[in-house]
C-alpha cells in the first residue's frame, strides 16, 4: 500500500469545478498551502470551501479567493480578510457563518457517519432562528438567509434545556497538512497546527494530505498516530523549501504589550 502521489498537481488533478472542499488550518497555522496552490494552478472554479478561516493577504485560501475561484464558504471567522468581505458584501460570495465548535463537530460528524447532532451552541440566537445573511444581492440587500434550525428539549443534569439540530458537513475532497506522514496515510500533527486538520480529513470523501516529512510504514509508533491512515487517500511530500515557507500572522515575543 502506497498512497504517495508523485506531485501536488497529480494529487489534486480530479478536483473539478463545482467540487466541495474541507480545508484544515486555523488562521495561518496548519494550512495546506501547497495543495491550495496546486488547486489554483489546476484551474478548478466554483468551489465550495469549508474552512474555519479563509486565509488573508495572499496566504492560504486567499489566493483562491483573489482569483474568484470560490463561490461558497462555510466558516466561523473571516474578520482579517478584506477581499473576503468585499466579495461577500457585493454578492459575489455566499457565506454560511457557523460557530467554530459547531463547524468542528459538523466535520467530525461527517467522518463519523453521524448525519446530525444536537448542540446548545446558538440556541436563542440567529443561528437557531434563521436570518443570517448567506448571500447579498448587488444592492447589498439580503438575497439568501439561513433557515431556522429544528429545536428539541433534552433533560441535562435534571433540567430541561433546549438544543438545536446541526447537520454533518461531508465534502467531495479534503486537503490537510501534517508534520509527519507515512505511505499508509497515517498522520502526526505538531502543536496547534493540528486544529481542524484531522476533522477536515474525516469529512472528505477523498482526502489529500501534504506532509512536512514522509516516512516508511512502521516508522511511526502505532500509539503515536494522531489520524489513522484509513482517513487519508493521498499523500504529498513537501520539499524543504515548501516547509520553510511557513509564515506567521502575528509574531509576538516575550515582553511585548498585549492588546
Amino acid at each position: 500500500m502506497d498512497k504517495v502521489s508523485s506531485s501536488a498537481a497529480d494529487a489534486v488533478a480530479d478536483i473539478g469545478t463545482g467540487a466541495s472542499l474541507a480545508v484544515g488550518g486555523f488562521g495561518w497555522c496548519g494550512v495546506p498551502t501547497v495543495l491550495i496552490e496546486a488547486i489554483r494552478d489546476a484551474g478548478a472554479t466554483d468551489l465550495e470551501v469549508v474552512s474555519n478561516n479563509c486565509g488573508a493577504d495572499g496566504w492560504g485560501l486567499a489566493i483562491l479567493l483573489a482569483e474568484r475561484r470560490i463561490s461558497r464558504v462555510v466558516a466561523s471567522f473571516f474578520g482579517d480578510n478584506r477581499e473576503f468581505a468585499r466579495q461577500y458584501l457585493q454578492g459575489e460570495l455566499e457565506v454560511e457563518i457557523t460557530p467554530q465548535g459547531t463547524l468542528a463537530e459538523r466535520l467530525r460528524a461527517a467522518g463519523a457517519g453521524i448525519p446530525g447532532f444536537f448542540t446548545p451552541t446558538g440556541v436563542g440566537t440567529l443561528v437557531e432562528q434563521g436570518g443570517l445573511v448567506w448571500r447579498f444581492d448587488h444592492e447589498g440587500n439580503a438575497a439568501v438567509v439561513s433557515p431556522a434550525k429544528p429545536v428539541r428539549t433534552f433533560v441535562r443534569a435534571g433540567k430541561a434545556q433546549q438544543f438545536l439540530l446541526e447537520e454533518a458537513l461531508p465534502t467531495d475532497f479534503a486537503i490537510v497538512r501534517a508534520a509527519l506522514g507515512d505511505r499508509h496515510g497515517n498522520l502526526v500533527f505538531h502543536a496547534s497546527a493540528k486544529n481542524f486538520n484531522p476533522l477536515a480529513a474525516m469529512a472528505g470523501r477523498i482526502t489529500i494530505a501534504e506532509v512536512e516529512r514522509l516516512v516508511e510504514p512502521g516508522e511511526i509508533d502505532p500509539d503515536l498516530v494522531h489520524l489513522p491512515g484509513i482517513f487519508v487517500d493521498r499523500i504529498v511530500e513537501l520539499t524543504p523549501e515548501q516547509v520553510a515557507a511557513k509564515q506567521i500572522e502575528k509574531r509576538m515575543v516575550k515582553g511585548m504589550v498585549k492588546r
Partner: protein, 213 residues
Amino acid sequence: MTGWTREQIAQRAAVDLNDGMYVNLGIGIPTLIPDFLPNDVEVIIHAENGILGVGTYPDEADIDPDLINAGKETVSVKRGASFFDSATSFSMIRGGRMDLAVLGAFQVSAGGDLANWAVPGKLIKGMGGAMDLVAGAARVLVLMEHMNRSGEPKIVVECSLPLTGRNVVDRIITDLAVIDVTDQGLRVVEFAPGVDAHMLRSRTGAPLIIDGR
C-alpha cells in the same frame, strides 16, 4: 479619578480565578488577567484552537509558526500542556469542563443575554468560538466598558444587537462596577472608586439591585 482602567478591570477579574481552574480568555482585556494572578494561583489557560496550558509570548528563539493562540499570536506553553484538535477543544467547552470563559461584550441584558459578535450595518466578521464558549462554559464573565463610545449604556433591559447567547452571562465587570446576573435581576457586588449608586444607575440601561434594593 473615577472608575477602573483596563488594567484594573483585569486585576479585579483576576480575583475571581482560583487555583486549578481551567479558563478561556477572549481577546482584549481578558488577556491581561494572567499578569495579575498571585504566584500561588495556577490556572490552566485554554486556547480554543487546540491548547491547554498556554504560556507567555515566547522567547525569540522559541517562536514556532505551528504554535499560536486563538488570537493568532505566537505563544509558548507551560509544563503539563497538551495539544488537541478543534472538535476535542470544543468538547471541553460544551461538555462543561471549562470552569470559566472571560470575554468582551457590546451589550449585556438584565437576563444575562450577551451580544458580542455582530452589529447590523457593520461588516460581520463571524462569531468564531464565542457562541460555543458562552453556551458551554460553567461560568461566563464579561469584561467591558460600562458605556459605548456614543455614551450609551451597554447594560440594557433587552439587547438590540444580535445575540451570542441567551441567559449565559454570570458576572459583568466594567470600569464602574462588578455586577452579577441573578434570578432576581442585576445585583451590584462592588463599586469602582468614585462610583456611587446614583451614578451607576444613571449609566445603566436596566434596573440594578444595590444593597438588596
